[in-house]
């Protein structure tokens, strides 16, 4: 459908597209993504000749577009831009009809197409057709922007970060709509974005570019499983790692190196540590570093002891997990016990860490949104 053969574009000394060759198949939803300046927009705009390459050939339907009249070419390719670009001097209906009118469709035909398209995005012709773009919200405007691109039923639609300027809620609902339209209309969509979430959500095929080259061209699943470079991995954030559901254990969620003392430490010293660290209990360990139990401020108070080793204060039991234990089980223990934490032990019964509600929440946040460090 769309084929690039050794396409090169330079501005002065900087190479924007470097000997680019690839193909987008008919009916595919291809998403061009990459860091800014990677050439994704230039690639898109050379498909409808808004930008002319310096070397190489681009074929649309087997025809070299350099030999097609650019005005005619553009009428056969839908185009949606980030700034929406609805003509403010025309009504919504007139905007949608811009390309069909160029193609000399009958007036009644244009009206019919406009009604159908507007129904498709849930904006009735009666209500919105005669409004001016400035009377619509941003999301509604871009819906019309997309419809304008679809109006003459072009086999190819190019979209240059069309949802980049919209708020997340609107963006998400427009993404859903564009997926629906793509499924329904069986057109070839070429979509530029810098948002990997958007690419993963929309694409049949993601084309990842950097420095005018294609680094990887793959389906979203392939790219998640097997990102070709560290840059792609960083674009995907945590998602790549999560693709194979790793068994999370207590160790992933604990706070390591909690404060612990030997049984032989003095009571006074222990209360001082607690006061200094603003905690109300201490982990107690035996002389061989194995876990013995927990002593709280209250139990020290109740015992009435102010001197002597801490080991003489009654040591309480506490919920315990092992580092290899499934994270979910230690959560259960934490939620079901009346204690503020679960003690996590190594295989040899030495103390590894504690799972608190805070450490749990933090670990979950890391897993969801990536390391916040």
């Amino acid at each position: 459908m769309i084929r690039f053969e050794h396409v090169t574009k330079k501005y002065g000394n900087s190479v924007i597209l470097d000997d680019l060759s690839f193909e987008i198949k008919e009916g595919e939803f291809a998403v061009l993504i990459g860091p800014s300046g990677c050439g994704k927009t230039t690639t898109l705009k050379s498909i409808n000749r808004l930008i002319e390459p310096d070397a190489g050939h681009i074929y649309v339907n087997g025809k070299d577009i350099a030999e097609t009249d650019p005005v005619k070419l553009r009428r056969s390719i839908g185009y949606v831009i980030q700034q929406i670009g609805l003509f403010p001097n025309m009504t919504v209906a007139q905007n949608i009809g811009v390309v069909p009118k160029r193609l000399k469709y009958e007036k009644s035909e244009i009206l019919k197409i406009t009604r159908e398209l507007m129904d498709m995005v849930g904006m009735s012709y009666e209500e919105y057709g005669h409004k001016y773009p400035s009377e619509l919200s941003g999301g509604q405007q871009q819906r019309i922007g997309v419809l304008r691109a679809l109006a003459a039923s072009p086999p190819i639609v190019l979209m240059d970060e069309p949802f980049g300027a919209l708020d997340p809620m609107t963006r998400s609902s427009l993404q859903e709509e564009i997926i629906r339209l793509h499924k329904k209309l069986h057109k070839t969509f070429v979509f530029v974005t810098h948002d990997m979430d958007e690419a993963l959500k929309l694409a049949d095929k993601i084309i990842f570019m950097e420095g005018g080259h294609i680094i990887q061209m793959a389906t979203p699943e392939e790219m998640l499983e097997n990102p070709a470079s560290d840059l792609i991995r960083s674009f995907m954030g945590k998602r790549a790692a999560d693709s194979a559901p790793v068994q999370l254990t207590a160790a992933d969620f604990m706070r390591p190196d909690p404060i612990s003392v030997y049984k032989s430490r003095g009571v006074r010293e222990c209360t001082e540590i607690m006061a200094r660290r603003h905690i109300d209990s201490l982990l107690i360990k035996n002389d061989d570093d194995t876990y013995a139990g927990v002593v709280s401020v209250n139990s020290i108070k109740r015992s009435g002891k102010t001197t002597g080793p801490i080991g003489e204060v009654p040591i309480a039991e506490n919920a315990v997990s092992y580092v290899t234990e499934d994270a979910m089980e230690s959560f259960d223990k934490l939620l079901n016990s009346d204690k503020d934490y679960v003690v996590v032990l190594n295989e040899d019964d030495t103390i590894a860490g504690i799972v608190t509600k805070t450490s749990m929440a933090k670990a979950m946040a890391d897993a969801l949104w990536g390391d916040a460090q």
């Binding site: 808004l50 831009i81 670009g85 025309m90």
Partner: protein, 212 residues
């Protein structure tokens, strides 16, 4: 005999002549300015040189220019109209140029991307969007021209200037006022009229101009 009985007839004729000068001069100036403005907006490089040159020309006093034109063309209405038209060009030209250049670049890209030819983009997108600015220039030109048209009488071509000049020469204040007030009213009425037109075209953008 009252003032009106003496001069009424003459005053009405003078108002009519004055108005015709303004109408003819502004119409011609508008067409020239619009065409020049469009051409210059396609070539901003040339415009950077041309616009300051034209604005320098604008500073030549009207009296000098109308006098020069009188020497070569003689005492015909065309002399006054040509001179006034040339002065009417600049405000419209400048506003047309600025208006066209201030059209959002993303709209130009959208127009191109939609497969509009350059002409279609100009007539259906750029000119309609520049219209408020162009009409603003038209208004300015019209108001100026009403006052400049007073100069026509300097070379014996009538208009309200005649009253003013005769009034000054004969020390007759009534005549001066009789010339000045109608020209003042004419300027105000025309500018209100143009404002109304501007409001109309900007508030409810008409159906798409049919372009080539």
């Amino acid at each position: 005999m009252s003032f009106w009985d003496l001069y009424g007839q003459k005053l009405l004729v003078a108002i009519g002549v004055h108005f015709l000068y303004v109408l003819a001069a502004v119409s011609i100036g508008f067409v020239i300015a619009l065409a020049l403005g469009i051409l210059l907006s396609r070539a901003p490089g040339i415009a950077k040189v041309a616009l300051p040159l034209i604005s320098v020309f604008q500073t030549i006093p009207g009296v000098v220019f109308i006098g020069l034109l009188f020497l070569s063309l003689g005492m015909v209405p065309a002399t006054a109209i040509i001179a006034l038209a040339i002065y009417a060009v600049f405000p419209i030209l400048k506003n047309t140029y600025v208006g066209l250049l201030s059209v959002d670049k993303s709209l130009l890209e959208a127009a191109r991307g939609c497969g509009m030819s350059k002409m279609q983009s100009l007539f259906e997108v750029e000119l309609p969007l520049a219209l408020p600015s162009i009409i603003g220039g038209l208004r300015m030109s019209t108001v100026y021209t009403v006052s400049w048209a007073v100069l026509a009488s300097m070379i014996g071509l009538g208009g309200l200037g005649e009253f003013i000049y005769i009034g000054i020469a004969t020390n007759n204040n009534a005549l001066i006022v009789a010339g000045a007030i109608p020209s003042g009213i004419m300027a105000i009425v025309l500018s209100l009229l143009i404002d109304a037109v501007k409001k109309r075209v900007t508030h409810a953008p008409k159906k798409e101009a049919s372009a080539a």
